[in-house]
């Protein structure tokens, strides 16, 4: 598999994230017998939003705390602080010194981790239901009780530098991807890598972390998601007991972001590397997200990505890989779950005697076809059906469900938006897809990245 293609694939699969969101509406569709499995959400007095997703099939519960802050909220010059703080959150509190929380989770056979994205930071544990209370005790303590010393901060900075080495510096496709993002986003935080630029990570310190922590980590800036073998009323009582007493941060302001200016130029980014033997390209556009789009537009972009390049039934795959036989891979993705304007992308790699230029030209032609001639009703129905069945399959994965609710709710969607999503997908018409392609996938505003072997010019 081509390096860039692999990266694009990953993006593509996560891009469908929102597509997998499910809710009570669907539960009714799928299986009316499921009383008691409705998603329940409520707010504590201190502003903490709580979402409970019951799934009683196995004695496992997923406890996730989502903070509505991500790398795109960082101050200039402090890139990487959101992610660095996420690492430092494992360094202990006054009540529970370093290592105690992790040791306790390991002791009960639980799983834990944390992750940072542009718009959110999340911490989770998966344990047997009888340990949920203890997880809440630890996690609520950590929400405002973190204690940091230079002694633990300094080695952790080295760990993050090694993480950047693993994820970016040693991977040609990541180096290109980072640069492509920095070119696509001209004014918003999405142009800065989540992990941070190396020269800025190196300077992050304890004070930076504490400042960021005190500013953003508060119950009125967080969402608690509990999925699995639990009862919503029990979760409410536990949440009240452990998270309830934590005071809200009165100084927490509106979440503001710098916005993208009108984009009028086509741009290209090229990376030549001796590790590359099969070239690849990725073409991206700035498009609205579920949060910024007009009604129905994000749903149209989701379906457009599916019809254009969502898998083996898509136009790009059928035309470039199967019929013309010029590509080893070709696809499209839309990252709709995003607080600000986001990316739509198309990617491909050649095979046999075909060149990268052939692949790019053929993919461009498929986009123009949709923008000018639209799609068939059959294509639309098939794509909708794939989305709707993916919602049923998604319910099989408890932590996946928790992730979907958490990421949607931290990027401006509501539980109701999630519940109504299948109906909004059903409402999309063929002309909406055509209009979305014509409006957004304009070659004269695209940003294209080329991953090439040494000494080769982009076509």
């Amino acid at each position: 598999m081509h390096l860039m293609q692999a990266a694009a694939r990953t993006l593509a699969s996560t891009a469908i994230g929102l597509a997998l969101l499910a809710g009570p509406a669907l539960a009714q569709d799928a299986s009316p017998a499921e009383a008691g499995n409705e998603v329940v959400d409520f707010k504590l007095d201190n502003g903490l939003e709580v979402v409970v997703i019951p799934d009683r099939r196995a004695p496992v519960v997923t406890h996730m705390l989502w903070i509505k802050v991500g790398s795109a909220d960082e101050e200039p010059g402090k890139s990487g602080i959101a992610h660095f703080l996420e690492h430092l959150m494992f360094k202990g509190t006054e009540a529970h010194p370093q290592g105690e929380f992790s040791a306790r989770i390991a002791e009960v056979g639980g799983r834990e981790n944390a992750f940072t994205s542009y718009d959110y930071t999340a911490y989770f544990q998966q344990v047997a239901p009888e340990h949920l209370e203890e997880m809440m005790e630890f996690e609520s303590d950590r929400l405002t009780g973190l204690v940091l010393t230079d002694e633990v901060v300094d080695p952790e900075r080295q760990v993050v530098i090694e993480e950047r080495n693993s994820r970016i510096e040693t991977r040609p496709n990541s180096i290109l991807g980072e640069s492509l993002n920095a070119t696509l986003y001209q004014n918003s935080g999405y142009g800065v890598p989540i992990i941070g630029w190396m020269h800025e990570i190196e300077k992050l310190n304890r004070e930076d972390a504490i400042e960021f922590y005190q500013r953003y980590y508060a119950p009125n800036n967080a969402i608690l998601v509990v999925a699995g073998d639990v009862d919503a009323q029990d979760v409410r009582a536990l949440a009240e007991e452990y998270y309830g007493p934590i005071p809200a941060n009165p100084e927490l302001g509106e979440r503001t972001r710098t916005q993208e200016p009108l984009q009028r130029t086509a741009r290209t980014v090229t990376f030549n590397d001796e590790r590359v033997t099969v070239p690849g390209y990725s073409k991206t556009w700035l498009v609205p997200s579920y949060t910024t789009a007009d009604e129905g537009e994000a749903e149209s972009l989701d379906l457009l990505a599916e019809i254009l390049g969502g898998g083996m039934r898509s136009r790009l795959y059928q035309s470039l890989v199967v019929e013309q036989g010029i590509a080893s891979s070709a696809g499209a993705y839309y990252r709709g779950t995003s607080l600000n304007e986001t990316a739509f992308g198309v990617y491909g790699a050649p095979r046999g005697d075909a060149t990268l230029e052939d692949v790019e030209r053929a993919a461009d032609a498929e986009i123009v076809k949709i923008a000018e001639d639209g799609i068939t009703q059959d294509e639309l129905e098939a794509a909708k059906n794939r989305y709707l069945r993916s919602i049923i399959f998604a319910r099989d994965d408890q932590s996946g469900m928790a992730n979907m609710y958490g990421s949607a709710l931290t990027t401006g969607s509501t539980v109701r938006d999630i519940e109504e999503w299948p109906d909004r997908i059903r409402a999309v018409e063929a002309d909406d897809i055509k209009a979305a392609a014509a409006r957004y996938l304009d070659r004269s505003r695209a940003v294209t990245g080329y991953l090439l072997p040494p000494e080769e010019e982009p076509s």
Binding site: A58, G99, A128, T170, S328
Partner: protein
């Protein structure tokens, strides 16, 4: 959503895709200390009149069914000069079957609301389907066609072949892939485990449709089939469906015998490449799955470098010294070989220091064994983590039940493993550490001037 940065990367598991499940399979079962009698899964054994057996977990919560099956004998069955045959075949089951050509087949599958996938590891050919129970018959008819009557039409064969070749070429200058391949050759010599499942450019180019048909006839049979099913289906219905899918297969597979092999120890492989960060892997002897000391070794490995934020290696190499982002160790149990592997990556000028810390920890565990407290905690983790890691969705339950059958662990394994783990003594774990960790490991370093940094071995 989007690119997420996880604090810990999943440990990558050896060259073989089965490695992962072998390890998990080895880890065990459910039940935490506090929640005793609640069985997470109730497994039924279903056998048809024609002798096809499946393990079934009935669950009607979601209107879907997950089916996972395997045929023992994967890429290790590629004949000489035909490397990549089984891998290529695995890409062609959904490219036309019976009367349906590739496009018609995929359209029918899409209309049936089902998803099908096949893949080959060195030890087995795996297939799976997840389907909506309302469309069960349409979906299973297509699965039956794919398993029994793949067409291997010229067009799709050529297309998938070109995709495989593109993949091989794309890896040809990737230092990680090349370094790992060189290491596999050093460990396994001319054994099939030294080969890449994808095959070589030369071999894959020469594969023919007759080769594919031959492999299909030899390798897909009732004798080497295992099946696991989870979801909205009862035992009687499943019986008929098992026959529908598999009864037409020949009784016996024609498998080439594969020799058992232990990885060669004391080998040093340096793959030199200018990188800011080097990757390091150490290979020690492993423990057979049916060895009475298996769980002692499993617990010992967990203490050394198992998948938590509390292992000795995690603590010493990452937490205290900040030398790496990811470090871990695992028991890799393949059908014909076992090993204990340790892997990490670190800034290239720190490789010597990282190796030194690792070897200090290995030696310490071999010499002194773990503490009683460490062992107790390891036991509770390994017992409790089974449900979370292996039984948290229909798809993962089906994968787990399949591996339990492949490992011949018995349908009551999930119940018996708790007792087996609890019975392990501190002396047994010490003995296991002695048995595995005294050895002079084989070491792979991928990075700049690897030969110079690798001094501590």
């Amino acid at each position: 959503m989007s690119i997420e940065l996880k604090r810990i990367e999943e440990q990558s598991m050896s060259a073989s895709g089965t490695g992962f499940w072998k390890i998990i399979g080895a880890a065990a079962l459910v039940l935490t200390l506090a929640a005793p009698a609640r069985a997470a899964v109730e497994i039924q054994e279903v056998t048809t009149d024609s002798g096809i057996t499946a393990w079934l977990v009935e669950d009607y919560t979601i209107p879907m069914i997950a089916i996972n099956f395997s045929f023992n004998g994967g890429s290790n069955q590629d004949p000489a000069g035909k490397g990549g045959l089984v891998n290529l075949m695995s890409g062609l089951f959904d490219e036309g079957a019976g009367d349906l050509e590739a496009n018609e087949f995929q359209e029918a599958l899409d209309n049936a609301g089902a998803e099908m996938s096949f893949n080959a590891t060195s030890d087995a050919l795996y297939g799976s389907m997840r389907l909506l129970s309302d469309n069960k018959d349409e979906a299973l008819d297509l699965l039956a066609l794919a398993v029994n009557e793949p067409r291997f039409d010229a067009d799709p064969v050529e297309r998938i072949r070109q995709q495989v070749l593109t993949g091989i070429r794309a890896n040809s200058r990737d230092p990680q892939r090349q370094g790992n391949q060189q290491f596999a050759r050093a460990l396994y010599g001319d054994h099939p485990y030294a080969r890449e499942n994808d095959g070589t450019e030369e071999d894959v180019t020469a594969l023919t449709v007759d080769d594919l048909r031959g492999a299909h006839e030899r390798l897909l049979a009732k004798s080497n089939l295992h099946v696991a099913v989870v979801g909205a289906i009862d035992a009687e219905t499943l019986k008929a469906d098992l026959d529908r899918m598999f009864d037409a297969l020949p009784q016996d597979a024609e498998l080439t015998e594969i020799a058992r092999i232990e990885p060669k120890l004391g080998e040093e492989v340096s793959y030199e490449f200018q990188l800011p960060q080097s990757t390091v892997q150490l290979i020690y002897p492993g423990m057979e799955r049916d060895d009475p000391e298996f769980f002692a070794a499993y617990l010992m490995n967990h203490i050394l470098g198992g998948g938590t934020f509390s292992s000795r290696l995690f603590n010493e190499v990452r937490e205290i010294r900040g030398l790496t982002y990811g470090i871990g160790s695992w028991l890799a149990n393949r059908d014909f070989s076992t090993s204990l592997a340790i892997s990490t990556s670190t800034r290239s000028d720190q490789v010597g220091q990282a190796l030194e810390v690792i070897e200090t920890e290995v030696t310490k565990l071999a010499d002194e064994g773990p503490t009683a407290d460490e062992l107790e905690k390891a036991k509770t983790y390994v017992i409790g983590a089974y449900a979370i890691n292996n039984l948290d969705s229909s798809a993962s339950i089906a994968r787990t039940l399949l591996e339990l059958q492949r490992d011949d662990l018995g349908i009551d394994y999930i119940d018996t493993r708790v007792g087996q783990i609890e019975a392990v003594t501190l002396d047994q774990v010490k003995a296991a550490a002695q048995r595995l960790l005294i050895a002079d490991p084989s070491v792979l370093v991928i990075g700049p001037q690897a030969s110079e940094t690798e001094t501590s071995n």
